[in-house]
């Protein structure tokens, strides 16, 4: 079992963290993790590395892989609530009962402009959702999806829309279409 009481081990861990730091920083930046949350992620990964030092044969690869995975988990959780906030806000906006006609027209125009930047599939799905007020089952029926998979498809499209509005929490190297775990 590893402890930093052994000067050799302390040195090894120091060297490891020094070497891995540029790559770790790159990972954190790519995932746009705020510093206070990054500290939690780094601390957790380092503590696990310390506890399991004897079992991990390639600590640098392990540490970078672990931090990357934690960043993905971090954003999966955050992005879920962000997409939900966007969805709820849009549903709220279009359902305001006594909004002036001009406001409604402007909203429809702006929303269409944003949706136009999405893929055909997402555009159709979100138009049914926001334009016609369809629920998930109706959207699934209309677009030929199984009811069991409509939630996943909707989440992907919401993530794409969120990315259009606020490009944060999506890895920069990825394309414009969200990865399957989005949402």
């Amino acid at each position: 079992m590893a402890t930093l009481d052994h000067p050799e081990l302390r040195e090894s861990l120091n060297v490891l963290l020094k070497n891995a730091r540029p790559r770790l920083e790159r990972v954190l930046r790519n995932f746009e993790v705020p510093p206070e949350d990054a500290e939690d992620i780094l601390q957790d990964a380092q503590l696990t590395l310390l506890y399991k030092w004897d079992k991990i044969r390639s600590p640098e690869s392990w540490l970078i892989g672990t931090v990357k995975k934690k960043c993905i988990m971090y954003w999966r959780k955050r992005r879920g609530s962000l997409c939900e906030a966007v969805d709820t806000a849009i549903l709220d906006l279009i359902s305001v009962p006594q909004a002036p006609e001009q406001e409604k027209t402007e909203l429809t125009y702006d929303l269409n402009r944003v949706l136009a930047k999405l893929s055909v599939r997402c555009r159709s799905l979100l138009r049914l959702r926001y334009g016609l007020g369809y629920g998930p089952t109706e959207v699934a029926e209309q677009m030929g999806y199984r009811t069991s998979s409509i939630r996943k498809v909707t989440n992907r499209c919401l993530a794409a829309l969120t990315r259009q509005l606020l490009a944060v929490g999506f890895q920069r190297e990825r394309g414009s279409e969200p990865a399957p775990q989005d949402g």
Binding site: P35, I56, R57, W62, M73, A89, L166, A167
Partner: protein, 438 residues
Amino acid sequence: MARHPNPAALVKLAEGRLSRLRSRQVIRHLIAGCAACDEIVAQASRFDYAGSFSGAWCATEQRDAALAREKAAAPALLQELLGALAATPEAAQALVAGSLRFHAWAFCEHLLDTARELGFQDPGRALELARLGVEVAGRLDGSIYGEQRVRDLGGRAWALLGNAERIQSDFRAAEKSLVCAERLLDKGTGDPIERASYYLAKASLRGNQHRFREAFRLLDRVMTIGRRCDDSHLCGKALITRGFLLGLANDQEAAIRLLSEGIERIVPAEDPRLLVAAHHNLTLYLAESGRFDEAMSHLERTRPLYLALGDHMNLLRLQWLEGKIATSLGDFARAEALLQPVREELAERRLGLDFALLCLDLARIYARQNRSAEMRRMAEEMLVIFRSRDAQREAIAAVLIFQQAAEMERVTLGLVQELSEHLKECRAVPGPRSRGAV
């Protein structure tokens, strides 16, 4: 365009922390398209991580002092526990349950490593220690070590227990333990190395159950983890396990190839027992494929590894293997001289199935030399050893057939071969009566 939202609100929204009403206002603004606000969010995302790194390091250093104390205390605690275990397993369980001193990460790891080390050398003791390991892991304080890390260690302990149960041929218990391991690992840190250890244990069980396709799929996952984590030793372990299983499936040529590849990849100092086991099986499969000269020269090359390890059971197996090769080469006098002492030791240790298999190796010599009287005497001894234990019905039946054939002086090499294969299968797939080692 409406008034720009407060930059703090934009950042809060990006972090998913803004209220519903404020979110509506901000998102309405963003839908209209606002480059200035996009820039604010982008600016907020240009982070400086210097403080994050130093803060994380401070926390690591703080935890280390406590770990150092735990590590220093672990060997003495293990001795104390072994003392209690020598009295009764219940006394050891009570000691672990009743004293907080034992509820420590370093001690738990030390206990599990010792159990793994004993593995095949002393399967009964390994099983007892693995059970205690599960008990200790279940009592670790998540608020000290981290809930997810504690679950990882719990998963490791259950996987080790499952493996110890498999070695004892209690496959049903092994199955249950591996389910517990998986449940804990699912809620753990997601550490791929822990997951790989679990897959290795499960693959070995599936192999023993002759569910080879599932076993190989699990080993593929271990290889993927090994490659991803840059862990050549782990890849070597997966290849060696695959080699063992292919041997069990009677595909000696593929087994030889994979074992050779695996041996190349593992770090010898990390797991000398695995290295010896891999070389041993490689020699065995070379001999079983009729490549006796290669087998003999390989055995001579690897003999120092057995001696360096010094494990008595391994040395016994080496001698048995030498006896088998000598039989195949027609050197019956040497073969018998090598096999007889092993036979006595196996009888003494009450390792019934191994004893029977070795007797069948001797039977090959007696059959070729027409030594019917010795054959009859040996067959009776086999039956006595088998009947004194909770042996599998199918295995007893095989020994009975042998005994009757010996009685009638009708033992042929073909019969010996057939019974030998049947007993090997009984060892791999025990029936419902089989619990402990036969």
